[in-house]
């Protein structure tokens, strides 16, 4: 089946969902699932080898003829939108149900459909103006989804921050597309690599798309928006919408000529984003904020891959460039899958306990075995550990960087530091997710809320299971997914159309299967040998202390103490210490908080200065007519004197 009817069906279904979401949850769910399945089918048929689908109509929208096109790059992202969009709608059926949220649930469904529809529009538009319209629509839809719980002050603050930051980005994109249209004479998009005078426009696109992707230091809106949104919204924001920023960068770099410095800047920004993102993530004690910062890190990894691929294009090194690009594209999928899984897990914890603060949780595995097991899987996957899918994409990126180094091309000077930073990032990601998993699910419950937790229902468990299965599928059969990614690479760089599966990826895939099997077998054998279920149970051996309390456990802050301390110059943690005083000390407290450093120490002061200057200038606007006449006279006199003096010289 050609993608056309499927896409039309998907669009119609989602548009109907915008209306149906208001009044019936079940009808809406059915519509959304059918639409996302259709969109997935369209994307799949294209990635599996179908011809590019194109639709041109002379019927103008906003004065421009409609031009839609689905190629392999769009299809790769469309597949992700469809999978996470479908999974999230099922999840929301229980997580944000009519019973729990009678006010906001219908609104949430409506905006969910609108978000999916407009993201599809962004991916299919082949016209700059329509791209901008769809971009703006999806930004606004995401704003209303973030602020579903708008009676809470911090949710509103996060929403406004998101909206204003996004519009800063949109402004850059407006400038970018308008300048592009002005210089080419048309809003139509497409390859124009020979027009070298367009190269400087890349910087506008980098700011606009980079802001949406959450690139450091433009990530300021991301942590609070992703943390305060409902969890299914956080999942699609972190898993999918920030990837549209990557999509924009892929398109820009694929179509336009680039400044010489662009690949170097991109790979450098990627490395900084990865390292700083994970440093902030490690120091967080709020689970969803941790996951949000971790998204920043993963965007960094994708940018390293993309920047490296651009270096390869510039130098004409197809072999390792392909590996880097394939790694970046695989990571787009992988991160979309496991980050959504983790946010769904976080939502399940929040649903069960009412808190995101990891130091108030603990021991949840007993009450929530499904969530715990799936979260652990996602945690291992996002740490880039074999035999899971995160390792596949990170291995490809590493391999590309190493090949660039051994090839001794000039790109090695970027690849060497990038590889080392990637290694540090990987180790920190591991530490971060050991901490997150352990604080929430292991040990003893730290509060009553954690003691009375309950497992989530089948509607929330099902989507998590599906995402976990997809993660495992990519992990164990990367060669099956390679041709799909290879097609997208070919669409990005026409010279790279023939990308056979690397032999080493085939070996790696087999080894991943063997490793998974052996790990399972070893785990079961040891559990059986230890007679796990029947083994005698005793208190944890705490240096022979017989009455341990749950509060004595290592907390999130103490776990992050050592490595977090190395990044204190970056994190600027705020500490308040009240030492115990006197012979019978009653109170001693220590409060430690990691602020939104970049926002609070850089952006807010700058914004405050701008606001002060604007307030000062506003004094001129007081509404007294005689002063306005005086302004006019002064201005006229001034202009006149310039004319007179200028005429003489």
């Amino acid at each position: 089946m050609t993608p056309g009817p499927l896409l039309l069906g998907a669009a119609a279904g989602l548009a109907a969902g915008v209306v149906a979401g208001r009044w019936n949850a079940r009808v809406w769910l059915a519509l959304t699932l059918v639409s996302t399945a259709a969109a997935l089918g369209a994307a799949g048929s294209l990635l599996l080898g179908g011809a590019i689908w194109e639709f041109v109509s002379t019927f103008p929208i906003a004065g421009q003829p409609l031009h839609l096109r689905l190629d392999a790059v769009s299809a790769l992202f469309l597949a992700l939108v469809a999978i996470v969009g479908g999974a999230g709608s099922v999840y929301a059926h229980e997580y944000w149900s009519n019973q729990d949220y009678p006010q906001s649930a219908p609104r949430g469904r409506m905006w969910w459909s609108a978000l999916l529809l407009s993201m599809g529009g962004v991916l299919l538009s082949w016209n700059g103006l329509h791209f901008l319209i769809a971009w703006e629509l999806f930004t606004v839809a995401a704003f209303f989804l973030i602020t579903l719980e708008r009676q809470r002050r911090d949710v509103r603050a996060a929403g406004w921050l998101y909206l204003s930051a996004s519009h800063l980005g949109t402004m850059c994109l407006f400038a970018f597309f308008a300048a592009l249209a002005a210089r080419t004479g048309s809003w139509e998009l497409g390859p124009m690599r020979e027009r070298t005078e367009l190269a400087p426009l890349f910087w506008l696109a980098l700011v606009g798309f980079g802001l949406k992707a959450g690139m450091f230091p433009l990530h300021i809106w991301l942590p609070s928006a992703h943390a305060n949104a409902p969890s299914h919204v956080s999942a699609i924001m972190s898993g999918v919408t920030i990837k549209l920023g990557i999509y924009g960068l892929l398109r820009t770099t694929g179509w336009l000529p680039l400044p010489v410095a662009a690949p170097w800047i991109l790979i450098g920004l990627g490395a900084i984003t990865a390292l700083f993102g994970i440093a902030f993530a490690f120091a967080q004690s709020d689970l969803k904020r941790l996951l949000a910062y971790c998204s920043v890190e993963n965007i960094g990894i994708i940018l390293i891959g993309l920047g490296g691929a651009l270096l390869a294009v510039a130098d004409g090194h197809a072999v390792w460039g392909r590996l880097l690009l394939a790694g970046a594209l695989f990571h787009v999928w992988n991160h979309g899958l496991f980050k959504s899984l983790l946010f769904f897990g976080a939502g399940s914890v929040l649903h069960a306990t009412g808190t995101r603060e990891m130091s108030r949780l603990g021991g949840l595995w007993r009450a929530m075995p499904w969530t715990a097991a799936l979260f652990a899987l996602g945690a291992a996957a996002i740490s880039g550990l074999p035999p899971l899918n995160g390792f596949i994409s990170e291995w490809l990126v590493y391999l590309g960087l190493f090949d660039a180094v051994t090839g001794r091309s000039p790109a090695a000077w970027a690849a060497m530091p990038a590889a080392i930073i990637l290694g540090i990032t990987g180790a920190l990601a591991l530490a971060t997710f050991v901490k997150a998993g352990a604080m929430i699910f292991l040990g003893a419950p730290r509060t009553a809320a954690a003691r009375h937790a309950h497992e989530c229902g089948p509607w929330m468990r099902g989507p998590m299971l599906v995402l976990a299965i997809l993660c495992v599928a990519i992990a164990l059969a990367p060669v099956v997914f390679w041709p799909l990614v290879a097609r997208a690479s070919g669409a990005w760089q026409p010279m790279w159309t023939e990308m056979p599966v690397p032999a080493s990826l085939f070996t790696l895939g087999s080894l991943q299967i063997a490793l998974a099997g052996l790990a399972l077998a070893a785990g079961l054998t040891l559990w059986w040998r230890a007679r796990g279920a029947g083994a005698p149970r005793h208190l944890t051996w705490d240096c022979a202390y017989a009455a341990p309390s749950a509060r004595m456990q290592y907390s999130s802050g103490s776990f992050a103490g050592i490595a977090g301390g190395w990044f204190a110059w970056l994190l600027q943690p705020q500490r308040q210490l009240r030492r115990p005083r006197g012979l019978f000390p009653a109170i001693a407290t220590r409060v430690e908080r990691v602020p939104e450093t970049v926002l609070e120490l850089i952006f807010t002061p700058v914004a405050t200065v701008i606001l002060q200057v604007s307030t000062a200038v506003r004094r001129l606007q007081h509404g007294r007519l005689q002063y306005y006449i005086a302004y006019v006279v002064v201005a006229l006199a001034g202009l006149g004197s310039i004319v007179v003096l200028g005429g003489r010289s």
Partner: protein, 306 residues
């Protein structure tokens, strides 16, 4: 006998070699420490007796732990064994080798670390939390050093495959690389000066404190895995420094064995002659190791230019 059967027999011998020889190393280290201290010390085969005894024993579990507490050590053991099997053994090469296998090796060690830290956190003990936090934090610096060392080897040999990376004659940076990798070996295997495997004062430890609650077969898996990891790092260090590729098969095998013995005795001597560092000094030493590897990388880069 066809080629497949030969490969199979070779694989089994290699597997048995790793499994059987690894527990020798801690025994040798302890013997060296005893000699230097003027004691007779435990027999070299002590760890074998311990493992046999532990495997027979029952298990006591904490009331808090999930099945992950037992599965963690099992997966970690598999991961370390897998990493060991990727490593070529001088003259007989690797049983399986592919472009980029060195990265799999590094990440298998990371998988083992994840599982051990996870299992430690299962108990809810503050001591084990402390150990896990130290383990994963210091590993950040150790991993940076290890990646840099691997980069140096890659640059020197122009390859990302372990077999070809480890065969050529070591370049001018061999001494730097040896010093860096030896420090990483000490840190990753929790030896003095990073950790003191002979104390039982929990506050001062990394590895030992993470396994306080393990007993019976899972503890046996942990101890055996730790000894395999030590052997793995020793073999990696020796092969990175000695030009085994240029020697005849017998000489290469002898050089490899002698090199591993020297490294092991070296660990024992360091342990006898040095005290454990204060914890705040640990990052400094690891950063030094990273810098040594970085200089080795630069030397390898310049060496290739000449």
């Amino acid at each position: 006998m066809n080629a497949f059967a030969i490969a199979f027999v070779e694989f089994v011998v290699r597997l048995a070699g790793w499994l059987v020889l690894a527990p020798l190393l801690p025994g040798i280290i302890n013997k060296v420490k005893a000699w230097v201290g003027g004691r007779r010390g435990p027999p070299v085969l002590q760890l074998y007796y311990d493992l046999a005894r532990l495997w027979q024993k029952g298990v006591v579990l904490s009331t808090l732990v999930s099945p992950g507490f037992v599965a963690g050590p099992a997966v970690a053991w598999v991961a370390v064994l897998g990493a060991a099997l990727l490593l070529p053994l001088g003259p007989i090469g690797a049983s399986l080798s592919f472009h980029g296998d060195v990265l799999l090796l590094i990440y298998l060690l990371a998988l083992a670390r994840f599982c051990m830290a996870w299992a430690a956190m299962e108990t809810g003990s503050a001591f084990e939390g402390m150990g896990a936090a130290r383990e994963v934090s210091y590993a950040v610096l150790a991993e940076a050093a290890l990646i840099t060392a691997v980069l140096a080897l890659s640059v020197h040999s122009g390859s990302v495959t372990l077999v070809t990376m480890l065969t050529p004659a070591a370049g001018a940076g061999a001494v730097l690389l040896a010093a860096g990798l030896f420090t990483v070996l000490l840190a990753e295997n929790c030896r003095v000066p990073f950790d003191d495997p002979s104390t039982h004062l929990e506050l001062t430890m990394i590895h030992e404190v993470m396994i306080l609650d393990h007993s019976g077969p899972p503890l046996a898996a942990i101890l055996h895995g730790a000894s395999m990891k030590l052997l793995l790092f020793a073999v990696l260090l020796v092969e990175a420094v000695l030009p085994l590729g240029g020697l005849s098969r017998l000489a290469a095998a002898g050089a490899l064995a002698a090199g591993v013995l020297v490294v092991t005795v070296g660990v024992g001597l360091v342990e006898s002659l040095m005290a454990r560092l204060a914890f705040r000094r640990v990052p400094l030493l690891l950063t030094t190791a990273f810098l040594l590897c970085l200089f080795a990388l630069l030397v390898a880069w310049k060496g290739g230019d000449a």
